[in-house]
């Protein structure tokens, strides 16, 4: 009878490369690696040959050369004497601003619609259902084109706002603060009389006043949480929950409003001068159309996610909660929502990802985002397709990976809690 200790060590044979589970995986991987390297080498060789045939090379120095084109909407100082690299950054910021605003607005609208969709009111839930189906099942760029068309075709020209003999053909909205022409939307610009000194360089100024306000508001939120926590502690100790809503309002709004007042907050209204509106902020219709279309489309998608998330939880859970004598409001807040959020959040984050990628459809309304600058005008002007496209894809990839890593962190934390 053989004993473990005197088992002969098996000799290595060539056949073991294929038949032994320990070596087989290595064999397969080595073969795949060789094939992958050959394929990559073939691609690189083709690129080299093609570049040589066209007399081109790979060179990123164009990023530092003069761009020579204007970008209407720029969040950091920009003019056409600045470099292509700078233009790309302006475009990237334009992409991000649409993405962020679109995510926020579509979430708000989508949650609202999703909850209404579940309403027992027949006509309301049907109406929302029709909205959701119509918007989900038609290409996104149709909505962009339609919104842009409506804005351009239905709004008056700037010159119609001109006051001749005390009357004008078109009038501004909201107590003469907002003017939507067929070119752009002009809204009031918030300004401070005594702003904090700006930091940073001229090319990348840092708005310290804004940062200060944000910090103040974040602090208020923290204090509010302390108040709520104390209320909870009191409730746990005595069984009665103290009334805190007025404290919350005071803490949340008070300091921020006081700071704004101290810094001399006021609005600069757009005014018609010469041929167009001056002052205020001008939102290009490309931006507006892109944002509205993304919001409407993704609100429909979000509504579906919210609806199915709540429905997935509600039945048995709300019955159990009612059976315990909890009222519907508390049931929703303490039982349904915490569970539904867990179902809703992962698909929501992947919606944010899709929305961010879909900002590139701004091409349909000529919005100058990352694709419009780096992958559009810069590419056409410099003829550097390879460099521009690779750089653009890399940037989009990084944004996507950042968003999906947030999702992974969230999923991991939920998984931990479930153990």
């Amino acid at each position: 009878m053989a004993i473990a200790s005197d088992l002969p060590k098996p000799q290595f044979r060539f056949g073991m490369l294929i038949y032994d589970t320990r070596y087989r995986t290595i064999t397969i991987q080595v073969i795949v690696l060789i094939l992958a390297l050959i394929f990559a080498g073939w691609l690189v060789d083709n690129v080299r040959t093609n570049l040589a045939l066209k007399g081109k090379d790979i060179d990123f120095s164009f990023l530092f050369r003069r761009a020579g084109y204007d970008i209407g909407q720029h969040l950091i100082p920009y003019n056409n004497d600045m470099s292509h690299g700078r233009a790309a950054i302006v475009g990237l910021l334009n992409t991000l601003v649409v993405a962020v605003i679109g995510c926020i607005l579509s979430t708000i609208l989508g949650v609202f619609l999703g909850v209404l969709r579940l309403s027992h009111n027949w006509i309301v839930s049907r109406l929302i259902g029709v909205y959701v189906e119509i918007f989900r099942n038609v290409p996104l760029i149709l909505w962009m084109i339609l919104v842009a068309t409506v804005l351009v075709e239905s709004r008056p020209q700037p010159k119609d706002f001109k006051v001749v003999d005390g009357v004008s053909q078109a009038s501004m909205m909201l107590w003469d603060s907002v003017a939507i022409t067929n070119r752009s939307s002009n809204v009031p610009l918030p300004l401070l009389d005594h702003p904090l000194p700006a930091l940073g360089s001229d090319s990348f100024p840092i708005n310290t006043s804004l940062l200060f306000i944000f910090a103040l508001f974040a602090g208020s939120i923290y204090v509010n949480r302390l108040i709520l926590r104390r209320a909870k502690a009191v409730q746990e100790a005595t069984g009665l929950r103290p009334v805190t809503w007025w404290q919350s309002i005071l803490v949340l709004a008070g300091p921020t409003l006081a700071a704004l007042f101290a810094m001399g907050f006021h609005l600069e209204y757009p005014v018609f001068k010469g041929f167009n509106f001056q002052g205020g902020i001008q939102f290009d219709h490309a931006f507006t159309a892109l944002t509205i279309a993304l919001t409407l489309y993704y609100a429909a998608v979000t509504a579906e996610i919210v609806r199915s998330g709540i429905q997935a939880i509600s039945r048995g859970q709300s019955e159990a909660s009612f059976a315990l004598g909890l009222r519907p409001g508390i049931t929703t807040r303490l039982v349904i929502l915490p569970q539904a959020l867990r179902v809703i959040l992962p698909p929501m984050i992947s919606q944010f990802l899709s929305l961010t990628k879909d900002t590139s459809l701004g091409i349909a309304v000529s919005y100058l985002d990352l694709r419009g600058t780096l992958g559009g005008i810069t590419l056409n002007q410099t003829g550097r397709e390879l460099e521009c496209m690779l750089l653009m894809m890399l940037i989009y990839l990084i944004i996507s990976l950042l968003i999906s890593s947030v999702m992974n962190v969230y999923n991991a934390s939920v998984k931990l809690k479930e153990r």
Partner: protein, 477 residues
Amino acid sequence: MNFVRTQMLPPQSPPVTERGAVKWLRENLFSGPLNTILTVLAVLTVYYLLSMALPWLLHGVWTANSLTECRTIIAANYGPDAIGACWAVIHARWYQFIFGFYPPEAYWRPILDFGLMFVAMTPLLFADNPRSAIKLVGVVAVLTVIGLSLAQGPLWLLALCTALMAGCFFLVLQSPARLLPVTLLYPFATIWLLWGGSIWGPVMMMAGFGVLAIVYSLLSTRIGVVMATAAGFVAACIWWLALDGAVAAALQSLIPLAIQSVPSDKFGGFVLSFLIGVSSIAISLPIGVLLALGRQSDMLLIKSLSVAFIEFVRGVPLITMLFTASLLLQYFLPPQVQFDLILRVVILVTFFSAAYNAEVIRGGLAALPKGQFEAADALGLDYWQAQRLIIMPQALKVSIPGIVSTFIGLFKDTTLVTFVGLAEPLRGITTIVRADIYWKGIYWEPYLFVGAIFFAACYGMSRYSLYLERKLMTDHR
């Protein structure tokens, strides 16, 4: 207290407040103050939308030669300030929205091809449901013949196509599986029907797969399934690269069998959308399966390659992939290889949908109980046998709703090919129509028309996928 019922009670109808329209209204529309307000708001919204859209729709003009003529007719009929839709543009140009610039005398080809697409899908979707298969093929055959009779074409052609559809119907009557040859021939038939030219090109392309099959069956017992597939693939590539063209040309000169050739730049409209969408999703499915398996693999290199591909493709917008097709793909191919734009777009869109399908199929794999893998192992099936016979049939079935959703997304996204210069219906054809001097200034009607077709197709498919999902849930498992 003892009690024994001697007479059973017959059912009675509920009290008046518990039935009929009153109850329904009270429960569904006016159950509380908030609900009443919502109802009123909703009714007002509907009224507002209808009051805007209805006159415009009802005053629509269907026959006119230009937008100005439309407006004149509306003004004459409904007063000078009336608004109305000018559907005449659709009436005059609908064929462009559907067929692009395809030669009108060849319209029968896309129509027949579209009908055959459903026939080819039947054995895959309804293999175990002959009744639905017969219904589908029957309806499609009738619609195709109607469509063909509307297209211009000689009578003998109509008779031939009718006979073809009747043959398919005859086959499905026996068993849906009898249609599998149609499914296998369909891709090559599509190439021949849509692009035209000599029949020997597609036939020789098909012969390449024949070479693959022969090499595989000769070698599979000797060197294993994977190696035999690889060898077959190499042999087929040699065939396609070295012999294919020469043999096709020789056969064409011997037996000339050709139909009018249609170059790619004539393609457009919904024919183009469907062509890109359907071929991409079909080619991407096997790639998606391999990627999903790769991502599940415990071999680090294979797993990381799959993950890298999937995450890269899912991380960039489709439009950058399309620009890659139009601007970059040429750089990565040998200088003498020239693909036309539609083919390049199909390749990149295929990559795109393969990554998305891989994730859907991975979900299907994850939904399978571990016991299925173990049972296959315990019976002595090897990896590929287990995948092919046990795992994939179940995982793919669970994945069908997800794949349909991917396809809906992809089909909507085919509109983006307009940005690389292809004449898809939404923006491509509409821009062309709007550039026409007679229709300058029109904007709602063409967009609504194209949007309505997209809506019908996507809504139909999403309902179908919902139905499948429900059916999967209730299926005996």
